[in-house]
């Protein structure tokens, strides 16, 4: 039944990550990728990737399947190392990063225990954890299955849980890999509202998505990659109004062959 009350997964203000953090005013970028190159199994999966990530707002990372978006996100998150090139961070950046993987990886524990575990690793004192978990459960709309084993959740529920988990440490940088791929329309809308709110509070978000409408709705700027190379980057409106590269044009039209 439709409920007139506000949706659960719109984040209450006081739980918004980074809400007590001022925007980094000094540097013009939060991180700077310089000529990143990543090879595996003899194939060059990323090559000559250079860009500066603006210190605030939402950047959409677009590109066809197998373009290297997930790899790039893992490079930025420090989970894999480039074969050459480097990533420089704004010295003022505290390193706090939240990450949502494309495939949800959850502990073999209950939903609550998954969140508790993440909070413990983020060194949140025990007294605060219970309250935080309750907030996060409301935000991810998972209160009704808090005690279920996390791996028995539905696909969309799992994705919402990994999103909540990425926010436990109120990160300065949020790397999201297709976080709404399995979400229903309402949850997607909730997610978009949430990310806009988080971004407004000063968290930089990098979002991989194949939902071009979504990118258009919430992204401030776009990076488009294809076959491991950046083909275009710029403000969202400009990108969608008239993609300059033929690849980006074909991608948006749904006719790009990988």
């Amino acid at each position: 039944m439709p409920d007139p009350a506000p949706r659960g997964n719109i984040l209450p203000l006081d739980t918004a990550p980074g809400h007590n953090r001022r925007r980094a005013e000094t540097a013009a970028w939060l991180l700077m990728a310089e000529e990143l190159r990543y090879e595996r199994g003899g194939r060059c999966l990323l090559d000559g990737i250079s860009f500066a990530l603006s210190p605030s707002g939402i950047t959409a990372l677009l590109g066809p399947n197998g373009a290297g978006k997930s790899l790039l996100l893992r490079l930025l998150g420090g989970l894999i190392r480039p074969d050459s090139g480097r990533i420089r961070f704004d010295p003022a950046f505290d390193g706090s990063t939240g990450m949502v993987f494309q495939k949800p990886v959850l502990l073999r524990r209950s939903v609550r225990a998954n969140l508790d575990h993440a909070l413990r690793i983020a060194r949140i004192p025990r007294r605060q954890r219970t309250g935080r978990i309750a907030e996060l459960l409301v935000m991810a709309d998972l209160t009704h299955c808090a005690e279920s084993p996390a791996r028995a959740l539905s696909g969309g529920e799992q994705q919402r849980l990994t999103m909540a988990r990425a926010l436990v440490n109120k990160p300065r940088l949020l790397l999201l890999d297709e976080p709404t791929a399995s979400l229903d329309p309402a949850a997607t809308a909730g997610f978009e509202a949430l990310t806009r709110e988080i971004a407004r509070m000063g968290t930089k978000i990098m979002l991989v998505t194949h939902d071009l409408h979504q990118a258009r709705r919430i992204a401030d700027d776009v990076i488009f990659i294809h076959k491991g190379r950046i083909h275009e980057q710029g403000p969202t409106t400009a990108f969608f109004a008239a993609p300059r590269s033929p690849e980006a044009r074909a991608y948006c039209a749904g006719t790009l062959i990988t």
Binding site: L79, T97, G98, L107, R108, R109, I121, P149, A152
Partner: protein, 219 residues
Amino acid sequence: MLDGQIIEIVALSLRVSVFAVILAALIGVPLGALLAVGRFPGRNLATMTINALMGLPPVVVGLGLYLLLSRSGPLGILQLLYTPTAMIIAQMILVTPIIASFSQQVLSDLHAEYDEMLRAMKATRLQVMGTLIRDARHALVTAFLAGLGRALSEIGAVMIVGGNINHATRVMTTAIALETSKGNLRLAVSLGLILLGLAFVINIALVVLRTRLERQAHA
């Protein structure tokens, strides 16, 4: 002859082996986790060493300890030779590689799944190890069972460091060997079956435990 003593012998077997397995688990599981998680130089060598140590002959462990603990040995003053403590140490040495190897295998597989997720959370290596051990705990029970089986059935080491001394360090296996050497083969086999029954009972207990753990984990 053994009817009266059998309880004493069974009790000592249990006490020594269970203790040894607990100690071995306390060392072996973290060691296995470290090898599963760590990316340090010499890790492969360490893994191979631990695997090879599963082939450590009990007699050699017994002898090594004997040379250490004997009156004239470096640790002779501890007076541990021919005590249950020495037997526990010997079995612990034998069981630790088994538990460590097994743990390493099980935890490696889980680590392949959890690694990036945990690193993205900036978990310390210790936290990673703890998480893996917790989530694989039902699989680790098999490692403990393997270790316990080895400890309970082991004879070479406890014979040398325990001495099979009547009323002091005689356990099931050494009692079986004694009856065998006396030619009482049927009695020896009966004792063996009692030992097996014991292992079975412990298994039921642990499998019930594991089933609970599995249900908790919903693997």
